[in-house]
Amino acid sequence: MTDTSVAGYAAGDTRSKPNFKRLGSALLPWALPIVLLVVWEIAARTGLVTARLMPAPTTVAAAFWKSLLNGSLIVHTLASTQRALIGLAIGGGLGFIAGVVNGLWKPAETLLDSTLQMVRNIPHLALIPLVILWFGIDETAKIFLVSIGVFFPIYINTFYGVRTIDPQLVEMASVYGLDRKALITRIILPGALPSILVGLRYALGFMWLTLIVAETISATSGIGYMTMNAREFLQTDVVLLGIIVYALLGKLADVATRAIEKRVLVWHPAYQGGQEGGR
């Protein structure tokens, strides 16, 4: 086997390589964060930064351990995740449906698209005061905001994906007698999938962003509430912990999308790097 796996897609193809090389490339992305943590710890310990404004990583770790033991971290993380996923399901589902319908059916596009493009340009976080007036500060308000936040990236990318299907493939499908349902499920949707997944990745970013803002403004649970509450009591370590949890949740969402991409886009040449040698 030659060294063709540098592109990074060929994780399964590296069996015959020296182990230390694999280990090295696996650890390399973590080098910078680790160095930063060490520098930060030293700076906090030596009093270079005020511990009240920027507590040491070990203090944050202690806060993590404490909130894990008393269960509050899990409760808040679950509350946030639940809101995020419900909002994603509603907003993403509607965005997907609108994208497919507008992409396939010209009258729907004429009717809806210019309105949607107009609404899209309103920063959805600017709706917070209005949303609080409408829904108060209960769950509905936050789920509503998340739904709006994820709707547009999914809508736009689904619409684009459906619209940019190769017309030659569509013509081929009709010559070969595919009916409309088969055309949509076998040609159009799978062809739009790479674009839809790009939309999903953007949507996940918007999902956490919206949720953080919504939770810091009005909530009685969730990571955003936890950090705002900690700010009241000057628990900077808990604030930092909240930020780190958000970062981890964001990373987790990204890893999940990549896994989905790798699974559903196996046909794509970009994802086939490691397969050839294995067969």
């Binding site: 030659q168 493939l169 070969y176 007698g177 799978p190 999938l193 196996v266 794509h268 050839e276």
Partner: protein
């Protein structure tokens, strides 16, 4: 259900194609005018001409992808109004669906036993055991073989070929010619091959029609023995010369 089973198509007959006083205009541009052509059942017809001479329009009219501005296109005596289920079209590009495996591409219309039929047809075009590959790993010639298998799997009575070998290298093209000639001889469907390659037309067809300016400028029979292996057959060379003069 073993691989050794000889594949016998259910229907061997081709259908006749008839175009009478067909005109086709795009806006003010007239591509075909008062065009007449009869293709008997089972004939292998090659249509040669320069680009823009109306070849592809002719193909699309027969396939039912376009409707004539005037006149009548008939298949098996019936006027073509939409896509005919026994007509299959091989495009210039293979047009395989990248996210469907080779076997799924061949059985694109699904239907009863599509997997088994796809497997047998793939074996028939020389692609045994490739049904689980992705199209992206195939070469240009293999992709056209898959496209050919996809056209043949439904046992069409008319096969239309729109310069399907134009993008292939010379050796692969000759392989494809032999493959197509063999399958056509076995199955007997009516074939219309659009090409700008005069040698290809003479190597494959029973009859060559030269299309220029939307009208037939030469209609000539190619009465050479099959299978045609003699590339330098003097009769073939003479036919090629006549055709080239008419193009």
């Amino acid at each position: 259900m073993s691989a050794a089973d000889f594949y016998v198509p259910e229907s061997e007959a081709g259908l006749p194609i008839s175009l009478s006083r067909v005109g086709k205009t795009f806006g003010k541009l007239s591509v075909l005018g008062n065009f007449n052509l009869d293709v008997p059942a089972g004939q292998f017809l090659a249509v040669v001409g320069r680009s823009g001479g109306g070849k592809s329009t002719l193909m699309r009219l027969i396939a039912g992808l376009d409707t004539p501005s005037s006149g009548r296109v008939a298949i098996g005596g019936r006027t073509v109004e939409r896509l005919h289920p026994s007509v299959r079209l091989l495009f210039q590009e293979a047009r395989l669906v990248p996210w469907q495996r080779v076997g799924e591409n061949v059985g694109i219309a699904r239907g009863a036993d599509w997997q088994e039929k796809a497997r047998r047809t793939l074996a028939d075009v020389g692609l045994d055991d490739r049904e689980n590959d992705w199209p992206s790993v195939l070469s240009g010639g293999q992709r056209q073989r898959v496209a050919l298998a996809r056209a043949l799997v439904s046992e069409p009575q008319i096969l239309l070929l729109d310069e399907p070998f134009g993008a292939l290298d010379a050796l692969t093209r000759i392989e494809m010619h032999r493959l197509l000639e063999r399958i056509w001889t076995e199955r007997g469907f009516t074939t219309v091959l659009i090409t700008h390659d005069v040698a290809e037309a003479v190597a494959l067809a029973d009859r060559v029609v030269v299309l220029s300016g939307g009208a037939i400028s030469l209609d000539i029979a190619v009465d050479l023995d099959r299978p045609r292996r003699e590339l330098a057959d003097p009769r073939a060379v003479d036919l090629q010369r006549q055709i080239l003069e008419a193009v």
